[in-house]
Symmetry: C2
């Protein structure tokens, strides 16, 4: 079944409950400036909301991290922080709103076939000119005139794996930094595992510096593992294979070597 | 150098320019409901903003995708859509605001050492009770009373690799679905590469079904590749190794077999 959404893909003088001027002001407030992508995104999200039945709870999926997620957040109850908006960075200027329970919804995307070859919108979308050579006032005018008419919309069914409700599971204090984290992330928190985005990671600040001597792995039999050691099988598993305090046996030497460790 | 931020980590009757009641109303509007994490996040982001010099442009980093990103988006110019807010899902209830140009900033985190053992906040954070057994009104009251006093704050330097400005690079229409996408993502867009979140991917809808017979790879010499074939070296590269239309040579057989393809 294909639904005809062409009546929603027309120029409009409103975006959601905003007039165009009000939307531009709200966009400046929320996004820092009324970026062309955000204005276009506003028309798109507005049309998508109108395509859905009134009485459903919907989630949103943005196929780009640029601008469009903010249009969703400005015009719908979906946000990244409440988890009703997901961003899948496919780099496509497309948004999908769908029924939270059934996964059925609509996808709206920018349709190059509907954009004139000499349009400033095309130049902007395909980056045919460096930004400073683009005509920003013309681009703004063309986007406001076009609205969602440069888009196409179709029914979609969101894959079940995309709709799984996120869950933190059990939360425990990290044995190194003390901060609460989801236990499913490992024996210590991800930050202390080395994913800290800071140069001066707290984990290394508060740990007393132990005096350690690296031991060739074949001489480590009978010794204790001083820290967790992770084994990565790409696409299959990634988790601690050896745990802190574990006594190493002869058979472990081969496993450690296969994990690429010659000294521990 | 360690800065003393204790004067900012005190209970407060405002969150940014909002009174508490106004913030709760704005949170309901933006997030769907004034979640405990969003209210606590509001106090945290407010304190972080006050810790920064007035005259800098700052970016934000949320170490969780739960609630906290929305506090950043409600109280600062940083949003996911403008790229000034990044989410690094370490599962830690922590936020960092930092100078866009130097990477120097502050990190604020919930500090279990500052939370009473019998506090409802601790029960909620560590999920010591199922949600339906938690005392939500008490939790709300305790969070409003505590403000940022249950947090700690310290100076941080954000790693340079975290501060790289995202760039789409060249944008081209996908040869399969026709939608514009960043060329750096591959010869066809990610959605057509199989990452589409929809059961009925457009790529497969519009391609005529070819009648194909799989050929053992060693018999394919002299034939043409009917589609791109990707080679993945974990952590090193992932891209099309064979292109659509390419004539296969004897030497290619070995490369294809190493890529795990015995039939094409």
């Amino acid at each position: 079944m294909t639904t005809d959404y062409s009546h929603l893909l027309v120029p409009s003088e409103t975006i959601g409950s905003y007039t165009i001027d009000q939307f531009i002001e709200a966009a400046t407030q929320f996004h820092g400036y009324a970026a062309p992508g955000l204005v276009l995104g506003g028309f798109m999200v507005d049309a998508a909301i109108k395509a859905l039945p009134d009485d459903i709870l919907f989630d949103a999926l943005s196929e780009t991290s640029w601008c469009l997620p903010d249009a969703v957040q400005m015009l719908s109850p979906c946000s990244v922080g409440n988890g009703w908006l997901k961003i899948l960075n496919l780099g496509l200027y497309s948004v999908c709103l769908y029924d939270k329970f059934t996964g059925h919804g609509v996808r709206l995307w920018v349709d190059l076939d509907k954009i004139d070859l000499d349009s400033e919108i095309r130049t902007w979308l395909l980056k045919n000119k460096p930004k400073q050579e683009q005509d920003s006032p013309l681009l703004r005018r063309q986007i406001l005139e076009a609205g969602a008419s440069i888009c196409s919309m179709r029914d979609v069914q969101v894959k079940p794996e995309q709709r799984i409700k996120r869950s933190k599971g059990t939360v425990v204090p990290c044995p190194i930094c003390g901060e609460p984290y989801p236990a499913q992330f490992g024996a210590i928190c991800r930050s202390c595992q080395g994913e800290s985005p800071y140069l001066d990671n707290l984990g290394t600040d508060i740990m007393p510096e132990p005096s350690l001597v690296a031991t060739p792995v074949e001489k480590a039999v009978g010794g204790q593992a001083l820290h967790d050691m992770t084994r990565i099988e790409p696409g299959v598993s990634k988790g601690p294979e050896f745990k802190y305090g574990q006594i190493l046996t002869g058979g472990d030497v081969c496993r450690l070597q296969r994990m690429g460790r010659s000294r521990i």
